[in-house]
């Protein structure tokens, strides 16, 4: 049972873990058993042990054992500040790119969000094939910064981009919409091999309206549903 202690830990916290979604580099080619078991046993081990852990958790919650002073209760309340987002840091460890859209679509093809921030213009993150009103992608710059300039290179249509609200936040929970065009410029991607739909938007906060020079988070929220449009982000850079 000792080998499954690490399986029980996240499950018994009773709150979905926040997970960075990225291509992990290893110091050597050796993978220890402690990190990831051999692949052929991987799914079966995890499935069986996770079921075991969940059965204990479920039984305890169902019997409301918090009333029993001899038992240590499993937590019931969700204490998280943010919903379960899909996120990835950029390769330079400078910011986090994230979205509310889970990597499940009708084709059951998982998308790779790290492609938006892998410093490669030729790889892009694509969301599910239809964007619903309220869906967003955003950037967490790790702490409140002032006079930041950053760019995003996108491949979804300009029509879709214009239908996105540009929102800024200091804490990720309270947002203000930026309604001006000051400090925002577009330029086509100068690359003969690139898709002609691809272009870069530069956000220079030194030229933003007063009150928008400092922020930690930026988010692009869809204001309506697009049945045949998806987000496509190829690159994000701090300039």
């Amino acid at each position: 049972m000792s080998q499954y202690i690490d399986v029980f830990f996240p499950i018994w916290l009773n709150d979905i873990p926040s997970q960075f979604n990225m291509n992990i580099r290893h110091l050597s080619a050796i993978n220890t058993d402690e990190q990831f078991p051999p692949f052929h046993k991987f799914l079966d081990n995890i499935y069986q042990s996770s079921l075991f852990a969940v059965r204990i958790l479920e039984n305890s919650l169902r019997q409301n054992q918090s009333n029993d002073s001899n038992m240590i209760a499993f937590p019931r309340q969700k204490n998280r500040r943010f919903p379960n987002y899909v996120k990835s840091p950029n390769v330079k460890d400078e910011f986090i790119f994230y979205t509310n859209i889970l990597p499940i679509n009708s084709q059951r093809i998982p998308f790779n969000i790290s492609k938006a921030v892998d410093n490669d213009l030729n790889t892009c993150w694509r969301s599910r094939s239809n964007v619903i009103g309220g869906d967003f992608f955003g950037i967490d710059f790790l702490y409140i910064q002032t006079n930041l300039t950053f760019s995003i290179t996108i491949e979804h249509t300009k029509y879709l981009q214009k239908k996105l609200d540009l929102n800024f936040s200091l804490d990720g929970l309270w947002w203000l919409t930026y309604l001006s065009l000051n400090g925002i410029t577009e330029k086509p991607v100068d690359d003969s091999t690139s898709n002609f739909n691809r272009y870069t938007i530069i956000f220079n906060s030194t030229e933003f309206n007063l009150g928008f020079h400092s922020f930690r988070y930026v988010a692009f929220n869809s204001t309506e549903t697009f049945y045949s449009g998806d987000f496509q982000v190829c690159d994000v850079q701090i300039l």
Binding site: V7, W12, P17, L27, D93, D171, W174
Partner: protein
């Protein structure tokens, strides 16, 4: 006449401008009223919005920065490494953790009772590793060791990594992400494993079941109280199972 023109102009302006109030609530204790005005008439939109699009006040920015500093102070971090077999990767990881200056302390838990680890084994020529604490265990606790080590941390928070993962490319962002949401587990996972982890999420609203799974081996941050509680759970629910 001039007065009539002014009145008509004011009426036209008020008809073509939309004034709305946005109310943002973090929770019932934190609500703030912001007023922003946008004209429906697109000819006015850019010019008017650029003048009256209200942003964050200086007070809000100062307060938010103060809150960030408080979080940094409250959630100081101890790095946990489990020493089983000696390796170059372990030395490399320890050096990186020390030089990153992001940890109050680094605990090296020696799971091999046949070896007595000392700090001098990890000291490079020009470096002093004052922040390292070595715990030589009298028993091989295997995977339980990391929770035992974390429960003895002097900080509220623990960072765990096995020595094979290269954390240099995501350590800063992982720590910042943790401090923005400190009550949950934060991990790092590759895209395929993330997708399979989603399959092992379980919900039942009637009994407050809302749990999920992730591997913690390649860099994870969690609260010391969660590690201590996990040890209690193991004692209660696994006491009838062999430890090996």
């Amino acid at each position: 006449m001039g007065r009539n023109v002014a009145i008509i102009f004011a009426l036209i302006l008020s008809l073509s401008c939309l004034i709305y109030i946005r109310r943002f609530s973090v929770n019932s204790k934190q609500s703030l009223l912001i007023v922003s005005s946008v004209c429906i008439n697109n000819d006015y939109q850019h010019n008017v919005a650029s003048h009256i699009n209200i942003g964050f006040s200086n007070f809000a920015i100062v307060e938010a920065k103060q809150y960030e500093s408080e979080l940094e102070e409250k959630y100081d971090i101890t790095a946990i490494l489990i020493h089983g077999k000696p390796s170059e990767n372990m030395i490399q990881t320890i050096e990186y953790l020390v030089h990153s200056r992001r940890f109050k302390e680094i605990i090296i838990w020696n799971n091999d009772p046949g070896i007595n680890l000392t700090k001098i084994m990890f000291q490079a020529t020009n470096n002093t590793f004052d922040s390292i604490r070595i715990i030589n265990s009298n028993e091989n606790f295997k995977n339980k060791a990391k929770y035992l080590a974390c429960s003895q941390a002097k900080t509220t928070t623990c960072f765990y990594v096995n020595s094979n993962c290269n954390i240099a490319s995501y350590l800063k962002t992982l720590i910042a992400d943790f401090r923005s949401d400190p009550s949950i587990l934060h991990t790092v996972i590759d895209p395929f494993t993330f997708y399979t982890n989603l399959i092992w999420t379980y919900f039942d609203e009637k009994i407050d079941l809302h749990t999920g799974f992730s591997w913690i081996g390649c860099g994870s941050i969690f609260l010391r109280e969660h590690a201590q509680r996990h040890l209690q759970y193991l004692h209660i629910y696994l006491k009838n199972y062999p430890s090996k």
